[in-house]
């Protein structure tokens, strides 16, 4: 492919540069990765929000944001997520490329400076974060977590994962747990922060029309970390097989949410990974997929019915919104689609369509700066790096037999239903 990152190893940090003239802004992302653990998941989820609210040089949100606006609307965002059983904190700064401005003052190093100030020079009171900031962000976090549960689609997805992976780290919500927020103090959060800087696996990505040499030298200074032991990424714990689980919950809602989880027993980097991706494409990732055709178009049961893969954990998650009286019917049809693929019911047409759309989707992802970062980071986390060229050639050459073999490893784990209160 045209896009290949250049990687420089520094103590405690890998710097990846991707040079492209495609964008009118330059994007910088730094990612911190640690094992997902109940003990500190909530503190780590809070940390980026405290760090982005103020810094030592810009001690209030208003001053910090005014500085960003003055840099021609530089954007600074944080994100918390998980890949398999790794907890990942991302900090992103995006600045205009001054080539397209009347004012040609260089902005990229200013953007990196923002990122560096946020990470290394937070607003402190002794050996702790500012109490006022921490209290405000705790309150915001709690409200964000509660409000996320008010979004019924997200709630159903989260509940499926909690039930399905009960006892596994993957059941943890990467954004934290509301009941754990109160216990966090400015001092305890500062310890989590120090551990993050000292122990996490860290990757910095620079994407855009950049002078690589110059920026790498700048980053060596501005992002100085201690050496650390390379942590292998979390392989995760898969529980031994048990009988499929069935969970039904009731709320005062009109539409039922039927979410079904399967174990794939294949993770990113495994030999069967690409066949599994194709299998998921045939099953439910696209509007030509079996779920869309059979649940929506043939039976008019749902507006949405789709599937996605948790690549680093080995799950297929199916989501659908169905009238409460038709959940049984929808569940039967969904399970039949998996069975059909396992039995080899894959037409030449859907096989060709799926490969074409998958390749298209990957190329489209690479048309977005943050998409480029995510694609490369995906292979960084797995350690079994799959180059983009490999990805394309493997998708192209995968056989129907390989897809059927991958499908045969897929087994039903948990059926989660959120439905109305009638008959509760």
């Amino acid at each position: 492919m045209r896009i290949e990152p250049r990687t420089v190893n520094q103590p405690g940090l890998r710097i990846h540069t991707i040079r492209t003239k495609q964008f009118k802004t330059n994007t910088m992302v730094i990612k911190f990765r640690a094992p997902l653990r109940k003990a500190d998941v909530t503190a780590r989820a809070l940390l980026p929000y405290v760090l982005q609210s103020s810094t030592n040089s810009w001690p209030t949100t208003s001053l910090f944001r005014t500085h960003l606006d003055d840099l021609y609307g530089a954007s600074a965002q944080v994100d918390v997520g998980k890949k398999g059983e790794s907890h990942i904190l991302s900090f992103t700064v995006d600045v205009a490329n001054e080539r397209y401005l009347k004012d040609s003052t260089p902005l990229t190093k200013e953007g990196l400076n923002v990122l560096s100030q946020m990470l290394f020079h937070p607003l402190l009171e002794g050996n702790a974060f500012s109490e006022k900031v921490v209290e405000q962000e705790k309150r915001s976090l709690k409200q964000r977590l509660q409000a996320a549960r008010d979004d019924k689609m997200r709630y159903a997805t989260q509940r499926l994962i909690e039930e399905m992976c009960e006892g596994e780290a993957f059941a943890l919500n990467a954004s934290g747990h509301a009941e754990e927020v109160d216990a966090i103090t400015p001092a305890s959060l500062f310890s989590s922060y120090q551990r993050m800087l000292a122990e996490d696996t860290i990757d910095l990505y620079l994407v855009g029309d950049i002078d690589e040499e110059d920026l790498i030298n700048y980053c060596k200074e501005a992002f100085s970390f201690q050496k650390r032991q390379n942590m292998p990424s979390e392989k995760g714990s898969n529980l031994t097989k048990r009988e499929p689980k069935k969970i039904v919950e009731h709320q005062d809602i009109k539409q039922g949410k039927l979410n079904i989880g399967y174990r794939t027993n294949v993770v990113y980097g495994d030999p069967n990974y690409i066949p599994l991706l194709v299998m998921n494409g045939i099953l439910g990732a696209f509007p030509h997929s079996k779920l869309f055709i059979n649940v929506r178009e043939k039976e008019s049961l749902a507006y949405y019915a789709s599937s996605r893969i948790e690549s680093h954990k080995g799950l297929i998650l199916i989501m659908s919104g169905v009238d409460p009286s038709k959940i049984e019917r929808a569940s039967t049809i969904i399970n039949e689609q998996i069975k059909a693929i396992q039995e080899g019911d894959i037409s030449d047409k859907e096989f060709v369509q799926t490969k074409a759309v998958m390749k298209n989707q990957m190329l489209e992802t690479l048309d977005v700066a943050r998409g480029i970062v995510e694609v490369f980071y995906q292979s960084e986390v797995a350690e079994n790096a799959l180059s983009i060229d490999d990805w394309f050639s493997q998708v192209e050459s995968v056989s129907k037999e390989a897809v059927i073999e991958a499908a045969k490893e897929v087994s039903l784990d948990t059926t989660y239903t959120l439905t109305g209160e009638e008959g509760a």
């Binding site: 949100t61 609307g73 409000a147 689609m153 507006y303 009238d323």
Partner: protein, 433 residues
């Protein structure tokens, strides 16, 4: 084919109006893999009262019909159009808004085939009683999905507070009841009236040659016969300037309350540069007053009345317009009161300074560059602007000419007591049931 060059942005836009009235725009993005095309008709959910093509009297059609029609365009005698797009690796979609229905695809190969598929499927309606009935189940589930979505209910609840009659108050998808009355004849009637090329705009952005795209589209259109179409007559009942109701609330199965303040726009017949200036001025005013750099945001955040979900937006089209501000809050009443006091004070004696205005301008200049990274943004926003006789590429130059006085005037014009409303989503008291 006309060409417009934007030196500072390093972009070029090609345009031509075809003989049948279709407006076509091409913006080459040679560095991208993906091409993105939208084929949009100036027809949305508010166009529910009009004189059908070839008739003389106004008809009123069922709520939700523009959206229903959008769904049904994808089904043809020989199957589903999604299948054709998938074969060429494209992903296709469509959406219906208050004033537009857009059909679109993106693809990194076979752009020519996909573009033909897009144009041809939108220009070949195929509706039967049976396929119309089948869709009612699917759209019924789309409607109930939105019914359970508290943010959507907050948004529409606020609009319904503002409007007495204007169809912007009607949910874009209609209701399960209203769509039950839709027939294939309704769909043909709306299609014939609103899908004439002279009411449509085609935008292509991506690594394409403008010459090739234009010649392909011209050839495609020349093969189809369209009679010239008279101007479409739409009717809207007269809308009072005051809001329909000052306040309303809804209880739902949620934990966190939500609050939205709506400001109903006056002077809703603006278009072109006047409308552009108005939109920019109001959005700038809100940016200064309620953006993350503002003293008001800081105070409300510190008081715990707002969180990161707090947002604001103003948009206006011919016949209606509104600003919305709000988000999740533990105390909707207190937040609503605080916002209304700020608006009232600022409307009578604005505190906006030149320095604040200059900062917002800088922010928006960079923000616009960022938007140009997105083919989706370019095509969709350009179309929306064009349907209101505005030019997307004039947005930043126009913004640069705004003065503090423009901002103050726009704000005091908008923030009038009788045109402000509030809407809350509140948790149900579980024990009371």
């Amino acid at each position: 084919m006309e060409k417009k060059r934007f030196d500072q942005l390093d972009e070029e836009l090609y345009y031509e109006k075809l003989d049948n009235g279709l407006s076509v725009y091409v913006l080459p993005k040679p560095e991208f893999s993906k091409s993105y095309a939208t084929f949009t008709t100036k027809y949305g959910s508010i166009d529910d009262n009009f004189i059908p093509l070839g008739e003389t009297d106004y008809v009123k059609v069922p709520d939700g019909i523009a959206h229903f029609l959008e769904h049904k365009m994808f089904e043809k005698e020989d199957g589903d159009v999604f299948q054709q797009f998938s074969e060429y690796g494209a992903s296709a979609n469509a959406f219906t808004s208050f004033t537009r229905t857009a059909y679109l695809f993106s693809s990194t190969s076979h752009v020519q085939e996909n573009l033909d598929t897009l144009i041809n499927f939108v220009q070949a309606p195929y509706f039967t009683e049976q396929t119309v009935e089948k869709e009612k189940g699917i759209i019924g589930q789309e409607i109930t999905m939105y019914d359970d979505n508290a943010d959507w209910r907050l948004y529409f609840g606020t609009i319904q507070n503002m409007y007495h009659h204007h169809p912007v108050k009607v949910d874009i998808a209609g209701t399960v009841d209203s769509i039950s009355h839709i027939t294939k004849d309704h769909l043909y009637q709306c299609y014939e009236t609103f899908y004439h090329p002279s009411n449509m705009l085609l935008f292509v952005v991506g690594p394409v040659s403008p010459e090739e795209i234009f010649s392909q589209i011209k050839e495609n259109q020349a093969s189809k016969k369209y009679d010239p179409q008279p101007t479409i007559e739409r009717k809207f009942e007269e809308e009072p300037s005051a809001v329909h109701r000052k306040h309303h609330e809804l209880k739902m199965d949620v934990q966190v309350p939500k609050c939205m303040i709506g400001l109903k726009a006056a002077n809703v017949q603006l278009s072109g540069v006047d409308l552009l200036r108005r939109e920019l001025a109001v959005n700038t005013a809100f940016d200064v007053l309620f953006g993350k750099t503002s003293a008001h945001f800081t105070r409300l955040y510190e008081e715990g009345l707002i969180d990161d979900s707090f947002s604001f937006d103003f948009s206006q089209e011919k016949g209606y317009g509104f600003a919305l501000l709000g988000g999740n809050t533990p105390d909707p009443k207190k937040l609503a009161d605080s916002i209304q006091i700020i608006l009232k004070n600022e409307a009578s004696a604005s505190t906006i300074t030149n320095e604040q205005l200059e900062t917002v301008k800088k922010k928006n200049i960079g923000g616009f560059l960022r938007s140009l990274n997105s083919p989706e943004y370019i095509a969709n926003q350009f179309t929306r602007y064009a349907f209101n006789e505005m030019d997307l590429f004039e947005a930043v130059p126009t913004l640069e000419t705004l003065t503090v006085q423009d901002i103050q005037e726009a704000l005091s014009d908008l923030a009038q007591e009788e045109r402000i409303t509030s809407f809350f989503i509140l948790p149900k008291e579980k024990n009371a049931q």
